[in-house]
Subunit: 595 residues, 2 copies
């Protein structure tokens, strides 16, 4: 239907006749002539309809924004002074000779070039929103990323294998989307939160190297940057150790950035232990672009009388740490109050600080409400350890260690952004040497820091049984600019070790059998050592495209209440399908949809 | 962990030391020496453990089938006369120097080289079944097919875009898998039967060329060759007509067969109208490898007195047709009875036939129970029209046309296979010129032959409204060796035409608004002409791999009752998740799972 794409007509086409299809981006009438910016996915080109050509001019007079047309015309040079250097097509225009309206359009619900349209409107009319060049570019970037991923992996003998979407529901089914079965009424499938067990089974099936770009599902309260369905690059390899998996995946990441963005990432990626990351940055995914780090003060504060500091300093689960902000002495009272409120959201009960005017004069060169509670030698020690200079400010965190880490870690990122300290560029990082388990002081039990199939650093199931809280795992997370883009581990391939890991998590033999019997069986029939990794594709593309939300790199995302505004999903259904599924709505449940 | 793959050790490695990982395929003790066939995804290699090396020999004595090992050894030439030319590695063997058991294995539930294991056992222990080289090869072929598809399409500017899995449920929800929403209790998502509307919306979003290899879901009584979740290659293009879509997709198919199998398909694919296919083969997906076709006899039978023939011949919805079977006169009574029963399954009430001993002598040269009912001129006409030769047999179908087509069409295929008439090779075919709608004589209403979004051949909504039963569509099906591998159409892009199509289907304005309001809106905001096609990937790979079931080209398929025997899905869930979803089981529904 066309000879050229709109965005591709250039001076090399001068004097030739072209046929184009596209959308009327804008129509202007100027000096009796009609100008139309015609748009397709490749870009814009200017079309001119001259009143001398009456028939085609009359048709052009009907054109409105977003009409879909097909036109034929002659390419000519734009009059001097009217060129548009911002467009590939900016040196030319097309004199319209024929014009066919393929489809009319009502007045758009919002102007496509308006940057400030509310997200609900954008989602409701997503087919309009996606016509905007910025959205086109994001989805095209996503396509280039997945294409480059696939090629890289296939060249390295990774096999693209599909795993089921209708999988086994577990009895408690936390965060599972359930799918009632019609054939087996009263029973349910679950949509996969990840293909974890299936990819392990593929390794036990002798598939050697697997990958899949696949949809995963999680039914949870949606935080700003989560979606009920999201996409993973999922990988698994047999007969490997950590170095193999980390090697090929960081090479993949370098390849993607090089191919898609022309950027060279570090080779190799730096590595940092989980313990070091928590100590220095209070985070297991530190943003290394921000040149701020914690100063450990727990020991220093053990002997002070100031209870706010000495209580956590003497609590084995407590921590006292400082964050030096260069030039922070200029922060106003109001700004400091703002940060106090900010850390409060992470559970901190306050935000002590010292403004440093002259570090050499602790008696008169400092400003702080807490100075009077601290002996001078402690103050000197704080100044020495933080390396505070004149004009700096020191923030303090003192609480249970997890609260200090979360609150001061978030503050570090916030202050870094607020004060323009974020260095440009890309800072990948491997975080390694994770503990196997995390002790939940509220539930008084261990949780898996990754998942129950992660191999411990020890080869002895007894060692794991005897001291699970100290056990380290063979997991690794890939972090990029403060975002976890991927995570994985070497998996347990020994049935006894798997049993020991379940025990540490309080999963008894019967429960393990009930939930994971097929995995335990498979481990008994010749399971190879294996490990892998999963990347969050949406998150990664968001970072690469500079978008601020994963919704901006998905064609049809859902809202934060897990609804599709475009199609009004979810929706009520009739009585008949529910009856066939053997279920009914509970009394009082309205079933009146997402509206 | 390894220097070579098992299947890749050859004479070029002679005298070098190699480290391999893999599974013990078989262990034999022979002349005091232990022979192990070691297997990985690349193949088998023979490893020899010599009693002179006591420590490693002692370890080798523990090896059993499917143990996972890592071994180091020296490559040497096999003794003369013991080479195995069937293996790539058959000229060499490896003298074991070191041996590590990575994992033990219980006795396998079935021997991997047993070809006759029941499918239920294979599915329950799928991780064993997939270790078999034939299954490895099928899944690897599948990977090569999808990789070749993606490259072909990406080179042609098709963009890989993801569409939602949690989509809008329609009130009746026939064949939809429903997913209860937790956030909007009482409302439901549906898993997509295809991304049809989303891909059309992508065209309206200016995406120009889309493809996706995506999972689709259909909850229905499972015929032999259906799965509740299956995979489609889904495509859509804007600003195209039939020739564009058919051109690029048949080129894709030629590319796949050339790249993956080294086979050249027809260029171009032949085309046949739907009417011709039904007339000649009684099928809209004729297998052109079978050199049998129908002879039309409806007109001929209008005047005979034999009611079995004249009733359908005079019924406007009836048909009388013959199928000549070359050499079929040798069929026994029992065989003919078998075919009579066979066509009965398709609704035929009987199967008349004539054995032709001498076509030149209709009086004495024929054998048939129906001869006495037919006048001699009609018999001569039958012989002339069918072109029957001595030794042939003629079968008859006389019933409502749809019954004749289905029964005699199936018989044609069955007889073709039974009598070894199927010609080797690949016979692609486009079936075109479909009617828009099909009249259901039972429901007394029209159904869409493809789907309600298929464009009619006419541009006039009024023409469609006035005579929907005669309307032809712009749909096309790609058929390969009697299997429909793909189907598509040019879509409706005009809102008034879409409304007319809904009306023909008895979907009133309100219902259309309720179900497809977002589509009708989108058609009003500048929808380009567009069309596309979807391939059934499982079916295609099954054909290419020579497998007999799509289950054999899926890693983890479900049974014909839509259950996963490996993980025991679907399964009952507890009370808590159901309560959160606002649903309960109906009284009397057991919820006791797929077992």
């Amino acid at each position: 239907m066309r000879t050229h794409l709109c965005g591709q007509v250039t001076e090399s086409d001068l004097d030739s006749e072209v046929t184009l299809c596209g959308w009327v981006n804008r129509r202007r009438d100027h000096g009796g002539v009609i100008f139309v910016d015609l748009r397709d996915h490749a870009g814009l080109v200017q079309v001119v309809f001259d009143p001398d050509r009456e028939e085609v001019f009359a048709r052009a007079e009907q054109l409105r924004s977003e009409y879909v047309i097909r036109m034929t015309g002659r390419v000519r040079r734009r009059p001097e002074g009217t060129e548009n250097p911002e467009l590939t097509t900016g040196a030319v225009e097309i004199l319209g000779l024929e014009l066919e309206v393929l489809n009319a359009a009502k007045t758009p619900p919002f102007p496509l070039d308006d940057e400030d349209v509310g997200e609900d409107t954008r989602l409701r009319y997503r087919y309009m929103d996606l016509r905007r060049p910025v959205m086109q570019e994001r989805l095209r970037l996503r396509g280039r990323v997945t294409a480059a991923m696939r090629r890289f992996l296939e060249e390295r003998d990774f096999l693209d294998l599909e795993t089921p979407m209708l999988t086994r529901a577990t009895p408690e089914g936390a965060r599972d989307y359930l799918v009632p079965s019609r054939t087996h009424a009263g029973s349910f499938f679950a949509l996969p939160q990840s293909p974890q067990l299936f990819k392990q089974l593929l390794m036990m099936s002798g598939m050697d190297r697997y990958y899949q770009i696949t949809r995963c599902f999680r039914d949870e309260d949606l935080r700003a940057d989560r979606q009920p369905e999201f996409t993973q690059l999922d990988m698994e390899m047999a007969f490997v150790d950590e170095a193999d998996v980390m090697g090929v995946t960081e090479e993949l990441m370098r390849h993607l950035f090089r191919e898609v963005m022309g950027i060279e990432l570090d080779d190799p990626f730096p590595r940092m232990s989980h313990a070091e990351a928590m100590t220095r940055f209070g985070s297991d995914k530190p943003d290394l672009r921000i040149p701020l780090e914690f100063t450990e003060l727990t020991e220093v504060m053990q002997a002070v009388e100031f209870k706010v500091f000495n209580a956590p300093a003497n609590d084995p689960e407590g921590r006292v740490a400082a964050l030096r902000v260069p030039g922070g002495a200029e922060l106003t009272r109001k700004e400091i109050d703002g940060y106090t409120e900010f850390v409060g959201r992470y559970g901190a009960k306050g935000l002590a600080y010292i403004k440093v005017n002259d570090p050499a004069d602790p008696a008169n060169g400092l400003q702080s409400p807490i100075l009077k509670f601290l002996p001078e030698d402690v103050i000197r020690e704080i100044l020495a350890r933080t390396g505070a200079a004149a004009g700096d400010l020191i923030f303090f965190g003192a609480d249970r260690a997890d609260v200090v880490n979360e609150a001061l870690g978030a503050l570090r990122v916030q202050v870094g952004h607020d004060r323009g300290l974020v260095e440009p560029g890309w800072r990948p990082l491997w975080v390694v040497d994770f503990p196997m388990f995390e002790w939940d002081p509220d539930d008084k039990r261990l949780y898996a820091l990754h998942h129950p199939f992660t191999a411990p650093a020890t080869d002895s199931p007894d060692a794991l049984r005897e001291n699970p809280r100290e056990a380290m795992s063979r997991a690794y997370d890939m972090v990029l600019n403060g975002t976890e883009v991927g995570g994985g581990s070497i998996r347990i391939h020994n049935p006894e070790m798997q049993q020991a890991a379940f025990e540490a998590l309080g999963i008894g033999e019967e429960e393990a059998r009930e939930k994971f019997g097929f995995l335990l069986d498979a481990l008994n029939f010749g399971a190879p050592p294996h490990g892998g990794l999963a990347f969050g594709l949406d998150r990664l593309v968001m970072l690469m495209s500079g978008a601020h939300s994963i919704r901006d790199v998905m064609a049809f995302p859902k809202t934060q209440t897990a609804a599709c505004l475009l199609t009004d999903a979810p929706a009520p259904v009739g009585e008949k399908p529910l009856r066939e599924l053997g279920i009914r709505l509970r009394a009082g449940v309205a079933g009146d949809g997402a509206q």
